[in-house]
Amino acid sequence: MSHALLVATDLRKSYGPTAALAGASVTVRAGEILAVMGPSGSGKSTLLHCLAGIVRPDSGTITYAGRDLTAMSDVDKSALRRSEFGFIFQFGQLIPELTCLENVALPLRLAGVRRRAAEQRARAWLAQLEVEGVADKLPGTISGGQGQRVAVARSLVTGPRVIFADEPTGALDSLNGEKVMVLLTQAARDTGAAVVLVTHEARVAAYADREIVVRDGVAHDRLAQTLERVA
């Protein structure tokens, strides 16, 4: 069994009087695809943002490869996100003013890679995601499915160890959603990246190796629960 890469313990996070996380614990193993499921407002996205170091939890600990994420400075966490993590959001969140190629190259450029080299690697990823034809187009001029595949390419271009995907197919029709998931999981397995996949769709979660369900801010391992019930 692969080792634990990202471990969160007893995470709590509130937005005003609303508790988004109420003692959530989760472990992400290297190379696994973990689906985080749950109804709207259950705290899935907050959990993902905490795991990615975007949101600081009110309490609890998160360790990534043995390093305490909650104790890291903002600068260190930003550096970690640039080099080790990749992100995919529901609407792609491509930068509208950059071409698709520049969008994919952006994480590399932020990490200090020179433009020509960054764009070369970006072009290769676009080809792998079968959207090389939109390289020089602006995000506003391509379809949602194409945009999401560009976003997947962008999340993979730095060779991250963890990809955080927040409802990556939420804005797509089922056909495009399937395509994106196939390409994402395939690419992740090829590169050995772990994927934390937030979704409320069972068919999307079906691509995952393991599922956890977030309910009322607490994460429950579905397999463990099933085993418990069987026992």
Binding site: S45, H49, R82, S83, F89, E97, L106, L110, T141, D166
Partner: protein
């Protein structure tokens, strides 16, 4: 569909749009609020601008109603007349209007703002003067105006709420004094001098230049939240609205926002108006009741703003393709055409050309409408050319660091938003340069060279002599004993008729006889040797008082100017020497006879009537010394002349126009800064999702901050470049209209451009904290 149904459908769609503008939860309310604030700020400023004519008229009416200067023969003394003495004074550079009132009988006229005439030694003061007198820093003024305050001057007796004014009851006014007049009423019909043509032109151009950026900001504010609106419209299309319906709904949104903006503008206007009496700008204050917008202009504004908002929205929708896929696909930035943009300034210059050389200070006529239109077209040309210039400049830019790339790509995708943001400031700068070019060139025509030399004496005192030479000695002693005074030279002078006869009815030459110590006379003439008893004759070629020096040995007759009769004679000693005159410290050229006291008889010295002049040098920057001296003069004669010597003075009208420009420019600049800030905040808010995702990738703060700076700096640099060129064009055309040689004041250009750049940088700096806030994960949570 029947026409009625059509109208109903239109109304329904417009209403739906208006509801959408105001709905949408907190995010929608913030968007609507920012748009309303942007439009409202512009509307408020336009309301203030439309109130200016009323405010000026109301001010003039009140000052005319209390006017006590008339060129008519004064009325004979009666039960219904009053003696009014001018007693204006200053305190720390601020003018205080003062009048001494002495009723001739039981039913004197009462000046506006008073219910009765204060008794002798009692004072009625304006509220502002009452506050000043009660303040700790007015100790020196209290020494001067040390009278019991028995009444407050009401608003109708004041030019403005911050005016310092008083009426002091008196019982010893000398009705023969130049500063005292008899009145049987207060108030004179306002026959104020018309502004000369050049100043009129300046005022017209000023109004156009100050209001144009405001109109541009209103137009820019209407387009706030454009991207969110496009997404909403795409949603509406998904529900079955066709493209025309979507446009009508957009028009309804624009109407809703602009109406809200009008309401906000009205609220801001009334808010500002309610405390306008507590603010003084460049020594001008207004009563809230004076700030009344002209009803016709208000109506125009109420119609024009919503109409303009719909027009602007329709124009902006031309570049957007809204499809029913819940995604609005923005067409690539349309390649802008240059020809019609260039046509605007060319047309503007063409309108100004026929008027070149048609004005001068002394006269000439100019078509005000054409000048306004010409200047407006050149300036609108700046606004129209800027988006083209930004697009053309950034089109081919590639590469660079990430911050630069983000900024340039943003400008390439949508240059108009950034261009719109700096359009107003570019137009304001162009206008300011044009106006300033005209101002600095014609300013010398409105500067009067006084010839005064503050290095020799900073204070000049002129008083009527009542007790002969003793008055001079008393004043000198009092002044010399005043802390801060370094030197004082005084003398007294008097008009005299030069023989052969001493009958003032004949057309004989006259001269001035000035008596002073040798030290004092040295201030008026180049004297090698002087001792008591010396007499000198000065013929100054520059003298404009017409006085001629008599020949030695001639007898002169001293005139009593009140009775125009000779009241004493004196023979100029044969030893009197002709000497070269020296310009006095107050700038006057002396001429006539300069005599030391011993050269005249004791009787003549004791009965001397005429004018006492005193030149006082004080320690540099000792403002208290000035106030103490004013009090000394006040105690001798409240209406006495007291002035600070200055080499040049601006004419009143020019100073008034310049003051108007400063007030307008200040208000416009503040407005521009606030509007820019609102615009930047709106842009940041619209892009918070993108900003949040950039943060998720680990983008550094400084990278984003620099991208914002570049995104603003590029259009600003281009805008300022265009503004300088257009401003010089406007300035040159205006100078040619008033027949002045074209000259470029580069320091003004640098100053104006520097101020504009500072405003933009300050706004960028102020917008950084919200940027940090938008860079948090909240942007992602909105998913």
């Amino acid at each position: 569909m029947t026409p009625q149904g059509g109208f109903r459908a239109w109304a329904r769609e417009l209403a739906l749009g208006a509801r959408m503008a105001l709905a949408g939860g907190p995010s929608g309310w913030v968007r609507a609020g920012l748009t309303a604030l942007g439009v409202g700020l512009g509307v408020a400023l336009l309301l203030v601008a439309t109130s200016v004519p009323n405010a000026i008229a109301a001010r003039q009416e009140r000052t005319a109603a209390r006017d006590d200067v008339s060129f008519d023969e004064p009325p004979p003394r009666s039960d219904t007349t009053i003696l009014v003495g001018k007693a204006d004074t200053w305190f720390r550079g601020t003018a205080i209007r003062g009048r001494l009132l002495q009723p001739d009988g039981a039913h004197p006229p009462v000046p506006p703002g008073l219910s009765e005439i204060p008794g002798p030694g009692e004072m009625a003061v304006s509220p502002a003067l009452a506050r000043l007198l009660a303040s700790p820093e007015a100790e020196l003024l209290r020494e001067r105006l040390n009278y019991p305050i028995v009444a407050t001057i009401a608003d109708e007796g004041l030019a403005g709420p911050m005016e310092f004014a008083f009426y002091l009851g008196a019982d010893d006014l000398d009705e023969a004094s130049d500063t005292v007049t008899r009145r049987d009423h207060f108030g004179e019909p306002r026959v104020g001098p018309r502004l000369d043509p050049v100043l009129s032109l300046l005022v017209v151009v000023m109004v156009v230049i100050l209001l144009l950026p405001v109109a541009l900001f209103v137009a820019a504010a209407i387009r706030f939240g454009g991207e969110a609106r496009d997404r909403r419209l795409a949603g509406v299309r998904l529900l079955g609205a066709d493209a025309h319906m979507a446009r009508r709904i957009a028009a309804g949104e624009a109407l809703g926002s602009s109406v809200l903006g009008l309401l906000v503008g009205g609220a801001i206007f009334f808010g500002v108006r309610s405390f306008v009496d507590r603010v003084e700008l460049f020594r001008l204050s207004m009563f809230p009741a004076d700030v009344r917008p002209h009803p016709v202009l208000v109506l125009l504004l109420v119609v024009a703003v919503p109409a303009a908002s719909v027009a602007v929205t329709m124009l902006s929708l031309r570049t957007v393709v809204i499809e029913p896929l819940a995604v609005s696909r923005r067409a690539a930035d349309v390649r802008r055409r240059l020809w019609w943009r260039l046509l605007l300034p060319i047309l503007g210059v063409a309108l100004l050309l026929p008027m070149l050389g048609s004005l001068s200070k002394s006269g000439g006529e100019v078509n005000v409408t054409l000048v306004s239109l010409g200047v407006a077209l050149v300036l609108v040309g700046v606004a129209a050319l800027l988006p083209w210039a930004v697009q053309a400049a950034v089109r081919r830019l590639r590469g660079g660091p990430v911050a630069w790339q983000l900024a340039i790509r943003r400008l390439q995708l949508d240059s108009s938003t950034s261009a719109r943001a700096v359009m107003g400031i570019a137009v304001a700068v162009a206008g300011a340069i044009g106006l300033q070019t005209l101002f600095s060139s014609v300013e010398t025509n409105y500067l009067v060279q006084t010839g005064a030399d503050p290095d020799r004496a900073e204070v000049f005192i002129s008083l009527p002599v009542q007790d002969g030479w003793a008055d001079v000695q008393r004043l000198e002693r009092a002044v010399a004993a005043t802390p801060g005074v370094q030197s004082v030279y005084s003398g007294m002078s008097r008009l005299a008729v030069v023989g052969p006869t001493t009958d003032p009815q004949t057309d004989e030459p006259y001269t001035f006889v000035t008596v002073g110590t040798c030290d004092a006379l040295r201030e008026l003439a180049e004297l090698d040797a002087c001792e008591e008893g010396s007499v000198f004759l000065v013929a100054s070629s520059e003298s404009d008082n017409g006085a001629v020096p008599p020949e030695p040995g001639r007898t002169v007759g001293f005139l009593d100017e009140r009775t125009n009769s000779v009241v004493g004679e004196w023979t100029v000693p044969v030893t009197a020497q002709m000497v070269a005159g020296r310009r006095a410290p107050d700038g006057n050229e002396p001429a006539g006879v300069l005599a030391t006291p011993s050269a005249l008889s004791v009787e003549l010295l004791a009965t001397w009537s005429g004018t006492l002049s005193s030149y006082v040098d004080i320690t540099d920057g000792d403002r208290d010394a000035v106030e103490r001296l004013r009090t000394i003069v006040w105690n001798i004669a409240p209406g006495g002349d007291f002035s600070l010597t200055t080499p040049t003075v601006r004419t009143n009208e020019f100073a008034t126009v310049r003051r108007g420009l400063l007030i307008g420019a200040t208000v416009t600049l503040v407005m521009i800064g606030v509007s820019l800030l609102v615009g930047v905040l709106e842009q940041l808010r619209e892009r918070r999702r993108v900003l949040a995702s950039l943060v998720a990738f680990g983008t550094r703060r400084r990278t984003l901050a620099w991208s914002i700076v570049w995104q603003t700096a590029v259009p600003v640099a281009l805008g300022l470049g265009l503004a300088v060129i257009s401003g010089l064009m406007v300035g040159a055309a205006l100078l040619k209209i008033v027949n002045e040689p074209v000259s470029v004041d580069w320091s003004t250009i640098a100053l104006v451009s520097g101020i504009a750049a500072f405003v933009v940088l300050a706004v960028t700096a102020v917008s950084l904290p919200p940027l940090w806030r938008f860079m948090q994960a909240d942007g992602l949570r909105t998913e």
